[in-house]
Subunit: 243 residues, 2 copies
Amino acid sequence: MLNLQSPLSRKLTAFVALSDADLATLARFDRRRKTFHSGHEMIHEGEVNASAYILSTGWACSYKILPDGDRQIVDFQIPGDFLGLRSILFRTADHTVEAITRIEASEVLEPDLLDAFANAPRLATAVLWAASRDEAMVVEHLVNLGRRSAEERMAHLLLELGARLHLVGLGDEAGFDCPLTQYHLADALGLSAVHVNRVLRRLREDGLVTFQKGRVIVDAPARLRDLAGFDTAYLDQTGPLLR
Amino acid sequence: MLNLQSPLSRKLTAFVALSDADLATLARFDRRRKTFHSGHEMIHEGEVNASAYILSTGWACSYKILPDGDRQIVDFQIPGDFLGLRSILFRTADHTVEAITRIEASEVLEPDLLDAFANAPRLATAVLWAASRDEAMVVEHLVNLGRRSAEERMAHLLLELGARLHLVGLGDEAGFDCPLTQYHLADALGLSAVHVNRVLRRLREDGLVTFQKGRVIVDAPARLRDLAGFDTAYLDQTGPLLR
DNA sequence: ATGCAGGACTGACGCAAAGCAGCCTGAGGC
DNA sequence: GCCTCAGGCTGCTTTGCGTCAGTCCTGCAT
């Protein structure tokens, strides 16, 4: 029986209708299950022939370290996300991926992926689409850093996380569980941890969002979206492009 | 005769060995030549069923506009670059692309691209690789905005442009022609135009780079790379992954 | 030749965010 | 019980960058 319920196949079929053969190829990805403990570096920048992973449970983050030791988090990965694709395509990883919580994931090796592309061409198109969605998110983060104030950035990040978690069935209208520390937020938003703290306080005092004890509660969704200029368009799962 | 010299096929074959049939499919992309005058918006954010383009001559930039009118330039496109891929994959464009100079480009329509993927599977893989290289650049820009000072950002941008132009045979060791205004730089680097001017002056006075009258001259390449923490890895054209 | 617009350039001033320095709390470890 | 350490939190000082408010130069249209 084909595993129609795997997070990745659910994500990919949203874009490209896949044949049973395609799905069978995909299902093979789900066989190499691995577990990582919190803090483990799943992929190191500069590593050659790294694997990619499909996240089943837990959170991760991908980042780059600058010569002076500063770190810039590029994105967070939540269940259902593909991670490390570029480290396969480029042979050597251009970023690091670290487990934030305990993680369960399926390992995808380079030959698996390349074979899949050769034998199941529609898969390549589907993965292209998934990669493009990731790029759209990175672009949104870029706009965030370039042109929004600290409060706006924070609001945007929290809304995005909420929306993404909602898409995979985690969290609800009111809020979501969030294992990130203020250091994570700072490194993602290009702020200092101290300033993150002040920003969170202001948002809380203004009755917009509350982030405390590992839980984010959106107190005033409409006002928060307004502040952040948040538009879900870039996250939308539009219908299949290829039938 | 197949057009082996088209900029796109040169770029894609660097990664994936393409068959004659693949190349013939690709060559079809080069037939719909178009010209745009400086300032023309080739793709509008929100536009549905926009085309993509392959740039032959001239410069473009892709950007997003925020509700308050601010603009964030995500990347500049130079000859050989693919632009607007996401506007095809997502049906509706998530960013705007504007011609900076007069432009000559080949139009790629949605059906062309999807047919190509269906009939020439290796092409999809090749385009995935090209899209991933673009993503790697956007990630680098993200790091730039998040964790580098104004001078470092500027140095990084100018070095990147120089390196990219060099890869397609434009410019030389000493410098390159650059049609960007200080407003373009400001919108790409998340700075004000006024501050861009100050930064350029300081870099010039420190004998690092000179950007004047449409030409960038790198006065002290080593010191400039050092300042920017510039590492060409993310631009490298590594050998074919799929043979 | 005159007016005008776009782009480069400058100085004065104010603010948002960084840096520094330190305190408080809770969870583990011994 | 005490110690340590990570993470959250706060006040004060400093600074990088934006904003405002211009000037100057060049090319173009009238």
